[in-house]
Symmetry: C2
DNA sequence: AAAAATTGTTATATATTTAAAACACTTCTT
DNA sequence: AAGAAGTGTTTTAAATATATAACAATTTTT
């Protein structure tokens, strides 16, 4: 299959991931989670939540007890934790390493949290662990890079990354409507 | 609006982005691009391509000449270049810095190429430029990090990134079906 | 020129995600 | 106990992304 088509074939959609994570959070905060609670937190109607959760029940990810209180399967719990940790780590990378505006970092992290592979997640975590640790090379690197990044030395018009001409410098469109 | 809902509100869907990029590539390679050429390269039917391209025409991103040969607006050209450069840069980051398997890096980059903000794109580019340059701190960092990454020192069970417990270590699910 | 192949569009269909509204059921208040 | 409020589901509807198949128009081959 063409690589680009893999996008549509994720195990969990963005929306479904947030339903699972909401249940996970509610269970942690209140000890229970109902359809209404999920809908309220996600700011969608109870009907929408009910339908999305029905498909998640059919996939065995969400269960309910005798009082219709929602429960997560072990797999769903693991998925929720993984996606949340991916967001946390990626956001931290954007803010503390790349110096991206925290609000933008939040948005970007939210968009990709469910899409990056476990391998990338693990390696990014190792990277951030090293970067946040007390290794002298990491400290020196970060300090030098941030000086560089805030200087005008980093003129992006011609660079090795894009080979001939730096296409990113043409990145002028706004992707949110 | 809730941040998580922003995911659905991208200017360009993953599918639409690939239609634009395919036209961009075909124009570069052959000097022209027709509906059939796009469909063939994307491995979708002509009908599907025709419908997707119709909506892109309605948005003013795709035009056609008197012979129905497809053209891109300036904005669409810019979008194509930006997304392709995002993929290139992010993939290079995954492979050369994080040491992610190149095949997996290709898949991950393809999934997020159209979702990250221009700000993140620019900053990641500056980062990669610095990282790939000849600054001694960058060289030392990368060397030390790769030694660390390949050693067993990076046991991810409890780390500062995830505060209390490292959730990424539980990342055992496979997101592709 | 006639037949065959190619091209682009449209009609029909499926799947997903979401909403609003109506409904049935349960729980709370008075 | 009766009415009100809250809860969950279903129905109906819209938008998006895709496919197949049928169709019309054009181009190529013979």
């Amino acid at each position: 299959m063409e690589i680009w088509k893999a996008f549509e074939k994720n195990k969990i959609s963005h929306s479904a991931a947030h339903h699972l994570m909401t249940i996970y959070d509610l269970l942690g905060e209140n000890g229970y989670a109902r359809v209404t609670d999920v809908a309220r937190r996600l700011e969608i109607t109870r009907g929408s939540a009910s339908i999305t959760l029905k498909t998640l029940k059919e996939k065995g990810l969400v269960k309910e007890d005798q009082n219709k209180f929602l429960l997560l399967s072990d797999e769903a719990t693991s998925i929720s934790q993984s996606i949340q940790s991916m967001r946390t780590i990626f956001k931290k990378f954007l803010i503390t390493v790349l110096n991206v505006n925290p609000c933008q970092a939040e948005i970007d992290a939210c968009k990709i949290e469910h899409l990056l592979s476990p391998e990338t997640g693990k390696k990014l975590l190792i990277f951030m662990k090293f970067m946040s640790g007390d290794d002298k090379n990491a400290r020196n690197f970060l300090e030098t890079f941030h000086l560089y990044e805030q200087s005008s030395k980093c003129n992006i018009t011609n660079c090795a990354v894009c080979d001939d001409e730096c296409l990113m410098s043409q990145q002028t469109y706004k992707e949110d409507s």
